[in-house]
């Protein structure tokens, strides 16, 4: 492997990968001064990036976001404002036409049948209706624009309740689209339409909102995580998970520290297994050990004996500072019972963040050791090596188990 290839594996080396290529890169590093310098600089660079502080957003950012969101739904109003004069104009024109028709053509049209486009009919006493000022009301018939608008208004009154129930609704096909949409804007509270901004043909059918299923019975589970105030790399700290349930379950709480975060008091990812009772908040300490600086992430999952009660919480814990001065000093709390050596080494590496390479020739003995009281990972690895009649060497922060 040459220097260029070696440098392509720096990220994997930093993460303690144990693949063939990474081991080869480590071997190259051992004999190449330039690459050792480059890798040291690489490690410092990564640490410096991860130590960049969180910046407090300027005070205007949050109010600015809320203001922008407030502007979203009221955008409908200009359309309504445009439409309303148009409907008023059309109504006025219709009235004028009716008056002209009643005065000029009245005698000929008296008692003439009027067939509507929707198939409905109405008999109209034009002279008497006009004289009583009821022409507009008399023209409401199935299929006419006005009756359609009235029906649309009736529909809108039913929509909010139905929408709350997650129903998919469509207007009757005879209802003209535009008046109905104009009325919808006035009939709904703005927050009913998250995300909709403009009117279009697609809006004629109310889009089905993917409403999450109702909380499962006998009751939802709520998770609250309080992160530790002190956040230093390599120093075990304790956060707290509170499980507050509205139901009673048998539950398993799984916790997964992602990337540079370990949870030493979780056994194979399980933090707790047992009852969760309604009205009795369960407080669980969550030990955290960051092996990298910067922002760390944690996923907490509660699996109950009612599948619907499964609850997840993703936690972002920013601001871990510092770096591991000695990877071997990280304390691990593990227990091995007849565990194959390589699996034990993997678990130690995972729990501590230390990079461990088990070389060929190290026999696959089985390990039984109880480290639940806590022991530095370097010491635990020495015990492993002794059990396999092998030795441990630390080179550039990597632990090598060698025959």
């Amino acid at each position: 492997m040459d220097c260029l290839n070696c440098q392509e594996h720096f990220a994997e080396m930093l993460e303690g990968a144990t693949g063939e290529a990474t081991v080869a890169a480590h071997s190259h590093l051992a004999g190449c001064e330039d690459c050792r310098r480059a890798f040291a600089a690489y490690q410092r660079t990564v640490a410096a990036v991860r130590d960049l502080p969180l910046v407090a957003p300027p005070a205007f950012v949050l109010p600015g976001i809320y203001s922008a969101l407030n502007l979203l739904t009221p955008r409908r109003r200009p359309f309504v404002a445009l439409w309303q004069p148009l409907t008023a104009g059309l109504s006025l024109a219709a009235c004028l036409a009716l008056v002209v028709w009643a005065v000029v053509l009245g005698p000929q049209a008296q008692f003439a049948p009027v067939a509507g486009p929707g198939g409905g009919t109405a008999r109209l006493g034009a002279n008497s209706a006009a004289s009583r000022g009821e022409a507009g009301a008399s023209l409401s018939r199935p299929g006419s624009p006005r009756s359609a608008r009235l029906r649309a208004e009736a529909n809108t009154r039913r929509l909010p309740a139905a929408r709350r129930a997650g129903a998919r609704l469509a207007l009757a096909p005879t209802v003209p689209q535009l008046p109905a949409m104009g009325n919808w804007a006035g009939a709904f509270e703005p927050e009913v339409f998250p995300g909709a901004r403009t009117f279009g043909a697609a809006d004629a059918v109310v889009p089905a909102t993917p409403v999450a299923p109702a909380p499962p019975t006998p009751g939802p589970i709520q998770l609250t995580f309080t992160p530790p105030a002190e956040r230093s790399v390599g120093v075990p700290v304790v956060g707290e998970l509170v499980i507050d349930s509205q139901g009673t379950y048998d539950a398993t709480v799984r916790v997964m520290g992602q990337r540079g975060l370990r949870v030493p008091n979780a056994r194979e990812g399980v933090l707790y297994s047992g009852p969760v009772q309604k009205g009795k908040p369960l407080r669980l300490p969550v030990k955290l050990l960051a092996v990298q600086s910067g922002t760390q992430r944690l996923r907490l999952v509660v699996e109950a004996n009612l599948a619907e009660a499964r609850t997840e919480l993703e936690v972002i814990v920013p601001g871990f500072t510092g770096e591991l001065t000695n990877a071997g000093s990280v304390v691990v709390t593990l227990r091995f019972v007849e565990t194959p050596l390589r699996q034990a080494a993997r678990e130690l590496a995972a729990a501590s963040g230390a990079r461990v390479v088990v070389h060929e020739g190290v026999p696959e003995v089985h390990i039984t050791q109880d480290y639940s009281a806590g022991v530095p990972v370097a010491a635990a690895l020495r015990v492993l090596a002794e059990a396999a009649d092998s030795r441990v060497e630390e080179r550039d922060g990597v632990f090598h188990l060698l025959k």
Binding site: E8, F10, A11, R37, A38, A40, A41, Y42, R44, T45, V46, A48, V49, D51, L52, P53, L54, V55, A56, P57, P58, V61, L62, G64, I65, Y66, A68, L69, L72, R163, R164, E191, V192, P194, G195, A196, R197, P207, T209, P210, V211, A212, P220, Q222, L223, T224, R231, D244, Q258, R259, T295, Q296, R297, T311, E312, L313, E314, I316, P318, G319
Partner: protein, 191 residues
């Protein structure tokens, strides 16, 4: 009692603006910081943060839970940031370099354990890193910020950026190596 993110999302999807406001309040600091490290300017970052949340609100009903909400949100954030970087390039290529200095920034957790001299050195180092970030290629910078600063795993970054996993890993390594070379002068005196 604090309501879980899942509940807030469900309520927001059902039209509850207050729940969406809570989601915004929970996430905006990290979103702003991601945008700031990618764009290098607080005003641009503020614009990007606002645009991202507005886009998220508009398309909230399309969030189906296939990925985590955070991944979905950051997918929007990264798109907004990359759009802004492209726009910057078109208008004035020089602006793609990060422009802010950290002098007026307020770290949320000042390291009280350091003495004045060490704090000064730390501040200088942060300025150097911030400046060097701005000289990285934007697509490399994005991966670096998401992985090393925002703390996302490779798989989620790949999903956010629509990239194969291998590309994410290689971009991260290239970004770090470029940054190392950018900061070589900074490291040399100590060696």
């Amino acid at each position: 009692m604090r309501v879980s993110q899942e509940t807030l999302i469900a309520r927001a999807q059902a039209g509850d603006r207050r729940s969406f406001d809570q989601l915004v309040a929970d996430a905006y600091t990290l979103v702003f910081n991601t945008a700031y490290r990618v764009l290098g300017d607080q005003d641009l970052a503020a614009d990007a943060t606002q645009t991202a949340f507005v886009r998220a609100y508009r398309s909230l009903t399309s969030f189906g839970g296939r990925s985590s909400f955070t991944t979905w949100l950051y997918r929007i954030v990264t798109n907004v940031c990359l759009d802004m970087v492209r726009a910057q390039r078109r208008q004035a290529p020089a602006l793609t370099a990060l422009t802010d200095t950290p002098d007026d920034r307020t770290p949320d957790q000042p390291d009280e354990r350091l003495g004045p001299e060490d704090r000064l050195l730390q501040s200088e180092l942060q300025t150097a890193v911030h400046g060097a970030l701005g000289r990285l290629r934007p697509e490399h910078r994005m991966v670096l910020v998401l992985y090393d600063l925002a703390g996302f795993p490779y798989e989620e970054i790949a999903a956010m950026l629509d990239l194969p996993l291998g590309t994410v890993k290689s971009r991260l390594n290239r970004a770090r190596n470029s940054l190392r070379e950018e900061m070589a002068a900074y490291w040399e005196p100590t060696e």
